[in-house]
Amino acid sequence: MNETTNKYDGWTAIAVMLTGGYLLMVIWPLMLVLFSSVTGPEGFSLEGFTTFFSSRLYYGTLVNSLVVTVCVTLLALIIAFPLAYFMTMFRVRGNRTVQILILASMMSPPFIGAYSWILLLGNNGMITRLVQDLIGVKPPSIYGFVGIVLVLTLQLVPLIFTYLMGAWRTIDVSLLEAAESMGVTGARRALKIIAPLLWPTILAGSLLVFVRAFADFGTPMLIGQGFRTVPVLIYSSFVGEVSIDKSFAAAVAVIVIVVTLLVFLIQKYLAGRQKFTMSALRSIEPRKLTGWSNFGVHAYVYGFLVLALAPLVVVVVSSFRNTLYGQFVAGWSFQSYLDSQRDIWRYVGNTFSIGLTALVILVVIAVLVAYLVVRRKGVLSDALDTMTMVPYVVPGLVIGIALVTAFSQRPLLLTGTFAIMVLALTIRRIPYSVRSTTALMYQLNPSIEEAAVSLGASKPRTFIQIVLPALAPGILSGAVLSWVTIITELSTTLFLYNTSTQTLSLGIYVEVIRGQLGTAAALSTLLLVLTMLSLILLMRLPGGQKELRV
């Protein structure tokens, strides 16, 4: 009913430009990776793939990745469900603070978790040493499978938790009362009624956890040691550590994309079979518990909180310890900050200049695409809608590889520049930003634009004076959220930086690899502070609280 009389206005031109730009900057580089995966020295060849599947050294990484990812996804679900259940059904002291802290742990850079568990339980870790001094026995190693699963699970539980909390708010209390009236209560009710109601959310959250865990590079790189996952293999083969040609790295990248895509499609299929909408007239009122059950619930919630926050506390504390040749020694000072001042300023400067540039471009693109998708339905808009989802299934490392492959020759020589860093970060965040902005745009009543036009406003004027300001609060809080993920991004930019474009998160990675633990801790602390300040800002924004509910 909302078609307009003049279909071809400036928006058509914008759609064409966006599509063209996107094809050149995102699709073409990814196609090059695909092409390179089936090209050998003498033209077409599937050697990359056959190599991968012929040696356990290689296909074993895929098995490792899948085992880790499935474990992490299941564990995260098993831990997050009771957490969300307790937080909604029962009165938990400091409920709000707990939720904010869990959120903060989710937003913290993923590889900081790995790094700080090394500080705690590594060969020379605080707890390792403590245990060794006390009872003379070395505790089990944190490196390898266990470490990866531990770190990723703790990192991703908050993600599913936030998803579940959001969905829980849509369950009407009368549904639970109905179950109770039929004699179904407690854990049985949780499994028979609540879990099925939350099923679509559980699926969506699990997919996100799966994708993140599967594509994560920082954690297995830092803590995996001999236990190698696919992203680590991609990295090492691409930088030529094991001296295999680039087409092998490309082939592995393609395999990763295919697996992710498969999981994505399975999730879509499963979610499509279970579609229902809910809206709560009366949401669930938390109940006060007493005695042991009250203690148990609090122990669970706060126990998780301690585990989730431990890495952050450790990093901050460590940053004030003295170091010698990168290793921690007795005593406290600002040495770690002061010694690498010049680097720190450079990293911070780059984080802001690159991050903010990417953020502005991201917001502009997301708003334009969302407007096209929602208000100008058509072939181009549909294509844009689908294309902007592509980076969702592509691991950050692969985006990096694609960009290096595409833009390392004239006339598009961008490698090592500021521009390619901005480009990479923008691409990485596009699916998320477009999705959330599209959701905002759908909520905006189309009559509002018509009202403006009927009052004599031109189309550009309507867009600038009415549409943008009306969406501004949502766009702004979405942008802060994007900002947080941009500054904590690591894998995408790993192949693209040089010393003049190194950001805080890259700095941390490099310092950890170099064994400069003190500097790494100081940088991590700065990144954490920056993240927390952003989150506080988000919570102060109108509508920001809503954004945090996912």
Binding site: M1, N2, E3, T4, T5, N6, N445, S447, I448, E450, A451, A452, V453, S454, L455, G456, A457, S458, R461, I466, P469, A470, A472
Partner: protein
């Protein structure tokens, strides 16, 4: 003041025809209502006049100037939306002033006119409030002020009251009517609520399936519906199927129970055959003699009760009875009804078209 003329208008959505071919004339300063069930094309038509919907063929003109190709912003219209469509980030006064701003009205005058418009809808005290902090009724008043303040050539309203509760609806329609009269702006109003249409309109066009069924004053369309659809859509009515005979130059209707009435003066000359008789509830009276009817039920509603009876033919009739009696009828009891012949209307049983004398076929 503006006259609106619609000529041979056609609207298609894909290969679906929403409005096949429509002609209408709306007079200067008239309060004109498009009335019909949902999906009848009334909102589509309004949006064509506004310029938000394309026109497949035909013309729309304001004062003899064809405006088909003018953009909505160039048509000088004021529009009130069903969802109010207030700009959520602007205060009441800013909302009302937006149209003046796009017209480059100077600041002092703009402020004066905004204040006047807010005063006219009794909203001056809330001028700094954001739409989110207003009730539906208040938002609708602001929306009305916003549409009127630009002194548009035409005021268009798309079911403006449908989101309000019943009491507020009655109050708001008086406000709308008052404001429109004062401004003297030609107004096209869309609603599916026939009572609302009757209350506010100078003239009403009853629409169904994209076709105008009848145009007339509220009284006209109620008393002389052009066809069965209009009779049933406007107000309540009972339809009885009977035979109309021509006998000795007279038109005689056989009501049943041996009761015949002479309706020569009412129906078109020579009309005969199977007809449907529309009997409004107010045309039915309980009497000593008349059509025998068996009581189905009587619902007590306070000042009156609603009575449902079944005739010997099996047809049911509903009518209202002022509750003056102390005793009520028993279910199954037989009562006698007298029909007020002057208030009956007749339709051809097959086509449903009115066969009343002087009916525009």
């Amino acid at each position: 003041m503006t006259r609106i003329a619609l000529r041979s208008l056609r609207k298609e959505y894909g290969n679906q025809v929403a409005i096949p071919d429509l002609d209408l004339d709306i007079g200067e300063g008239e309060f004109f209502t498009l009335l019909g069930p949902s999906g009848c094309g009334k909102t589509t038509l309004l949006r064509m006049i506004a310029g938000f919907n394309s026109i497949e063929s035909g013309t729309i003109s304001f004062d003899e100037v064809v405006i088909n190709d003018r953009s909505p912003s160039a048509r000088n219209i004021g529009m009130v939306f069903q969802s109010y469509a207030l700009f959520p980030h602007m205060s009441a006064a800013k909302n009302v002033g937006f149209g003046l701003q796009t017209r480059n009205v100077n600041r002092a005058e703009s402020e004066r006119r905004v204040a006047e418009a807010l005063e006219a809808v009794h909203m001056a005290h809330l001028k700094d409030r954001l739409p989110g902090a207003m009730s539906g009724g208040q938002q609708q008043r602001i929306a009305l002020a916003r549409a009127l303040v630009i002194q548009p050539a035409v005021l268009l309203m798309d079911e403006p009251l449908s989101n309000l509760d019943a009491k507020l609806r009655v109050e708001m329609r008086e406000t709308i009517r008052e404001a429109q009269r004062e401004a003297g702006i030609t107004t096209v109003y869309v609603t599916h609520d026939q009572e609302e249409a009757m209350a506010v309109s100078d003239r009403i066009a009853v629409m169904n399936l994209g076709v105008v069924q009848q145009v007339g004053s509220p009284e006209d369309i109620y008393r002389f519906p052009a066809n069965r659809f209009v009779a049933e859509f406007i107000g309540k009515t009972n339809l009885l199927e009977r035979d109309l005979r021509q006998q000795d130059g007279k038109a005689v209707l056989d009501l049943g129970d041996g009761i015949t009435v002479d309706v020569t003066a009412m129906v078109a000359p020579g009309a005969a055959g199977r007809v449907q008789v529309s009997v409004r509830p107010e045309a039915v009276q309980v009497a000593e003699t008349g059509l025998a009817a068996e009581l189905i039920d009587e619902t007590f509603l306070g000042s009156h009760s609603q009575v449902r009876v079944r005739l010997a033919s099996g047809e049911t009739i509903e009518f209202l009875q002022f509750a003056r009696r102390a005793t009520r009828w028993e279910r199954g009891e037989t009562i006698r009804l007298r029909l007020d012949t002057d208030m009956l209307t007749f339709f051809d049983a097959e086509s449903g078209v009115s066969i009343m004398r002087g009916a525009a076929a």
